[in-house]
Symmetry: C2
Subunit: 222 residues, 2 copies
């Protein structure tokens, strides 16, 4: 198995996470690096989606990924195979990352400059939403097998995300998943949210997602 760099991140020492997050966001803007904080339930398909998206965007951009997990390095190994720079962050049992913890990963990831950095957060719809990581934007995935009621049960997650990607849409025939109702629930939490639908398996929607990400990356370059 390929070796990936594993960083054991430490609890943050900053008094105000919000202040630290704003500072990090400004620094990223100044460097022209777009940092996406990608969140979802466990198994919604974050890594699989990145495996589809990275090769397309890598033709034009320098990309790096931080994989945050309680344990293991399976995701960082998978991402490394796409050719992107990939590091694994271990949270020491913690269920989220805050801005100080994100900075510890970025210090390693951004060494050589990056257009597009991705934080694949711990799989969890509760805690990661509560902490501003300092990312340029929050996005979350909602997979078809999970069902449409997630925005009802996990309101904050959908309030803080500007982009919601419905994944595994190739499985729509096998699940009772009302797409329009789901979109309605998402908009109820965040009327401004952009909602896209993709299947990493069939490739449906991947080009549109890449186009959207490209707009964000370009906007960050200013």
């Amino acid at each position: 198995m390929d070796n990936v760099k594993i960083i054991e991140i430490k609890q943050s020492v900053y008094e105000s996470n919000d202040r630290e997050a704003d500072k990090l966001r400004s620094e990223l803007k100044a460097r022209g690096t777009f940092l996406l904080n990608l969140m979802s339930s466990p198994g919604a398909g974050k890594t699989t989606l990145l495996e589809s998206v990275i090769p397309k965007l890598a033709r034009k951009y320098k990309i790096g990924v931080m994989e945050a997990d309680i344990d293991a390095d399976v995701d960082a190994v998978r991402i490394k195979e796409t050719g992107a720079k990939s590091i694994q962050l271990h949270t020491g049992g913690m269920c989220h990352l805050d801005a100080g913890m994100t900075r510890q990963g970025l210090d390693e990831l951004l060494e050589d400059g990056m257009d597009f950095a991705i934080l694949e957060n711990v799989g969890n719809l509760v805690c990661p939403a509560e902490f501003d990581t300092g990312a340029s934007m929050n996005a979350c995935l909602l997979s078809v097998p999970e069902g449409i009621d997630k925005p009802l049960k996990y309101p904050l997650m959908f309030e803080v995300c500007k982009l919601v990607v419905i994944t595994k849409i190739d499985t729509l025939p096998y699940f009772d998943f009302d797409v329009e109702k789901c979109k309605e629930y998402i908009k109820m939490r965040n009327p401004e949210a952009k909602v896209l639908m993709v299947s990493a398996k069939t490739g449906e929607g991947i080009d549109e997602l890449c186009k959207t990400l490209e707009e964000y990356i370009e906007a960050q370059k200013g």
Copy 2:
């Protein structure tokens, strides 16, 4: 829509959660009530599984369910339709329940005595595993669409669960899910874990799960 009782639970005041949990567990044993703490990722099918299991076990046992969520009461409404007593616990944004919080729900649920009480915990593979709720047993679901690597990434969840139920097995043909490998990962975290496989949709495995639960309920009666 049916009305269900919603309890806004408060942060616990107990100094030692472990002590409080042991106390609650003894009280449940003395009353002959088996309390199952059911955990999983969001959307792994906890409520759907209970909808399959409750009608079968209700022929013989008095059953009550506490649905813990950050918000909404969709699950408690669904459970009420099975005929079981059902209450909704709102955690005030918290990602888990501890023993004191569980007790607040049980005070309401157990009024008239219960053979089988179920705590459907917040959908989350991290935080709920960290807090002993005082339940007689911990169980977790792992759904086929989530993938087999969850025991690698969320070790504690699988260490604390005596029963792991692989759900949505009717979707095995549509996902790349190696059952034997998954069982191996589960056993790596907890060699004693019992692993069952079910589909609430086709009914496969439901009888065996009910038989297992019946054994636990009877053992609790002593």
